[in-house]
Symmetry: C2
Subunit: 344 residues, 2 copies
Amino acid sequence: MKKTIYDVAKAAGVSITTVSRVINNTGRISVKTRQKVMAVMKEMDYLPNVHASALTGKRSNIIGLLTPDISNPFFGELAKSIEDRADELGFNIIICSTDHDSKKESKYFSILKQKSVDGIIFATGIENHDSMSALEDIVNDDIPLAMISQDKPLVPMDIVIIDDFLGGYAATNHLLSLGHRKIACIMGDGSTTGEKDRMKGFRQAMQEADVPIDDSLFVPTVFSLKSGKEEAGKLFDRSMPTAIFAFNDVLACAAIQAARERGIKVPEDLSIIGFDNTVLAEMVDPPLTTMSQPIPEMGRRVVELLVDEMKGKKTAKQKIMLPPELVIRHSTARLKDIPPVRLS
Amino acid sequence: MKKTIYDVAKAAGVSITTVSRVINNTGRISVKTRQKVMAVMKEMDYLPNVHASALTGKRSNIIGLLTPDISNPFFGELAKSIEDRADELGFNIIICSTDHDSKKESKYFSILKQKSVDGIIFATGIENHDSMSALEDIVNDDIPLAMISQDKPLVPMDIVIIDDFLGGYAATNHLLSLGHRKIACIMGDGSTTGEKDRMKGFRQAMQEADVPIDDSLFVPTVFSLKSGKEEAGKLFDRSMPTAIFAFNDVLACAAIQAARERGIKVPEDLSIIGFDNTVLAEMVDPPLTTMSQPIPEMGRRVVELLVDEMKGKKTAKQKIMLPPELVIRHSTARLKDIPPVRLS
DNA sequence: CTGTTAGCGCTTTCAC
DNA sequence: GTGAAAGCGCTAACAG
């Protein structure tokens, strides 16, 4: 039932070589033959078998995407923009949810290799030893690679990131400019370069403003609503800040919820700034002031970087750094002056 | 640089057939040989080339997933649960965003066919002619198929859906039980069976409660925050209901925002119930009362259905209907009695 | 129990 | 310009 190149050749009255040539646009073929063959292919609804051509060294037109969790809106939106651009360029995406599990990471590495994908995009950290060595294998195997939203200073690689330092700096400055001094940071485990840079930006801004940094105001957690809420709650009970810099929108939402449960008003009593500017940011109440990442552009750019590399267009690895942007909504406000005396 | 079955055979001092046999666990092999070969494979870090085996009729272990939009939390969460279960069963997922575009749908059909995926999961409508005939092609080609969250009454197929009729009925009853009578429905274009059934459930509940149905309270829109907000706004300006049944959580959020912009309080002045119970539901303020879909289970079940079909385990097509569940949070409340006289 | 051999559908020399 | 034929890496009869 399946059409093969032989069927086409027979129907067109030529050899399979000729058909192959018109498919791949190689060699010299008379206009007549080419048209004839094209017509037949169209009519038969013929599509070359990918496995067969992949076997003979051609591309599979598949790109592997390693992401921690597509159900997280940030990665969902990123995946969508990647898929869109890949589709335009003729590639499909195999999606791999690593769940931050290093075993799954290295497992997916080998599966993708086995499926001989044309390239791999990383949207996930690769901090542990296992996946690091798997990564090296991939590099050694000359499988094109690109990272997004994750820096890897040691290895030369194609990378698309945002300027996290600037992001941390700008977010903090926004809070500072509203009069806040006691600012807490709610973040992940602090292991990724992105987090580290945001923290550096935070420190830099605080320092420039001559505000001493209280390390007990750094709240490490996991990037999930649940644990964010717990940790934020503990923080509030321990030492109430006037503002919070959350390292992503989910964590910012968590902080809002924790505050609400305690009757703390946002932004009147507590300003909160997020990071990412996912759909969540405009959904919550109050709408989130947040550092926006240009997700669609980031997705587009990694794909282009990767495809260029696959086609051998590029010589050197590139690092594309995009600027984040402050989006002011309603979760941050000027610090209230605490009246020295209550005039009841 | 790439290891082939020949390398393994040579290193193990056996023929490639033997190697193939231990890989696929077919035929009889002495324990010794098997162990020897296994050891060599492990040591060489050998993985069989998928394209080669796919070419000889074996599975590609790839499942295609057609979804309208993974950046929508519902489909994101669904995709995640599908990917998880597929991974457990040894399959990878190629994700295809159709954007509700029928051209993309049929285009993806043929790409997936060409990539000889082992099966296809539909999480998207196939209402138009083009994709309908493409679907038939797939059925004719004997490519296993399963639909999720979309019924297709005409064709026998493996399907996992929720009981949308019950969902519409229960949601409406909840509102009714709180004393509401003027209930508006904010929905998509009403074309899918899911929407139709929810509407039937709505009508049924209203009828049983002897509440006349006002057709001007059906608000068709697109499943997006923006247009949901616009349409809800128009509705409010036109004829203010006391409660809203939104056909998904995004639309419910949209209604909340439109209400807030007009100073209408939820749930005091307006009750809103959503559908899906995505992360959004717990993020918004007020947290959304909504009809919960068992997303993780739905994802798990489609994959299982599809894999069973691929393995030829099943005889007849199945339709699995899961019950939705009312999750009461804070966006719905008892209709306030309008005091006949204000005792200011 | 194990090896030989003929393809799977396609690309790519090498002849004509 | 076009075709014959040799693989790509693997599976599956078919023989021993």
